[in-house]
């Protein structure tokens, strides 16, 4: 198994979905990404995201990348 690289990037997909009144399933269908991958993203288990996927999510949720991701402060 690969070593997990620590990061402090938090994903706010759940909040944006709620704001737009969309389900994860519907978003997955619209942007042609699997529900499994979107779920990985939503639960902060993703290690990387393609720019094409980021563009598609931001288009559908009418947001900027900075709305989708924020950097948690160091505790």
């Amino acid at each position: 198994m690969p070593v997990e690289e620590p990061h402090r990037v938090a994903c706010h997909l759940d909040l944006l979905l709620e704001r737009e009144g969309l389900t994860l399933t519907e978003l997955a269908r619209r942007i042609d990404v699997t529900i499994a991958n979107l779920s990985i993203l939503k639960n902060n288990r993703a290690r990387a995201i393609r720019f094409s996927t980021l563009t598609a999510i931001c288009d559908q949720l009418r947001c900027q990348p900075g709305d989708l991701f924020t950097l948690d402060s160091v505790e």
């Binding site: 690969p2 991958n37 993703a46 290690r47 990387a48 393609r50």
Partner: protein, 229 residues
């Protein structure tokens, strides 16, 4: 060039699985025929059909005859004013020379001879069955979407080892058993004992090992994209 659609790839992989499954079934039938046939437990007679082999009915080995053995009626040549010609037809000459390969059939083998022969015949298809099962597992994992796993790398390395070591051992064992059986029999008078080993399993095994290492690189690349959305 864009990759084939997933449905096409899935269909191709199912075809590969089907072919491997048929091969495995034939190997199992072959093993069963040897074990249950006249030279094994004697439960069934010569089964005939697509799995019939001569060795199923009569215990036999193929061996090289001594160089002193000649073939009666072999073509001979004669010198003519037009050059060397066939002695009978006068046409273009040919020559037949040994050593000749013959099948030695054991019409009444002892129990020990039968058991040893049977074991030497079983090792090949048993080895092939294990290899086909490993290949089938790789094919199934590919169809299910994730072929580049450490388990598949281990399977390919195991196949390489089985082919290299097992294949060479089977060839050697078969040669030794044939030599022993024939040397103990009246045919030993016209057979020069020799043991032969083919290097082909070694070469094929090395190729599979190279493939396994390339596959391992694929596993590393796959793990690199773990969690990529």
């Amino acid at each position: 060039m864009s990759p084939a659609p997933a449905s096409v790839l899935s269909r191709r992989l199912r075809t590969v699985e089907a072919v491997l499954t048929v091969l495995l079934v034939l190997l199992v039938l072959w093993i069963g025929a040897l074990l249950l046939g006249p030279n094994g437990l004697g439960v069934v007679g010569d089964l005939g059909g697509p799995i019939h082999t001569d060795t199923n009915a009569v215990m036999a080995v193929t061996t090289e005859l001594d160089t002193r053995v000649t073939v009666a009626g072999a073509p001979t040549t004669t010198d003519t004013t037009d050059g060397t010609r066939d002695a009978v037809s006068g046409g273009r000459p040919v020559e037949i020379s040994g050593p000749y390969v013959a099948q030695v059939s054991f019409l009444d083998p002892s129990p020990a001879q039968r058991v040893i022969w049977l074991l030497s015949e079983l090792v090949g298809p048993l080895l092939a069955s294990v290899i086909v099962i490993l290949l089938l597992l790789v094919a199934v994992s590919a169809r299910r979407g994730d072929p580049f796993t450490r388990a598949n790398t281990a399977r390919l390395r195991a196949i390489a080892a089985l082919v290299m070591v097992g294949g060479t051992a089977v060839s050697f064992l078969s040669s030794v058993v044939s030599m022993w059986l024939v040397a103990e029999s009246p045919a030993g008078r016209i057979v020069t004992p020799s043991v032969s080993i083919t290097l082909l399993p070694l070469l094929v095994g090395l190729l599979v090992l190279a493939l396994a290492e390339v596959w391992n690189r694929g596993v590393a690349l796959r793990e690199d994209t773990e969690g990529l959305v």
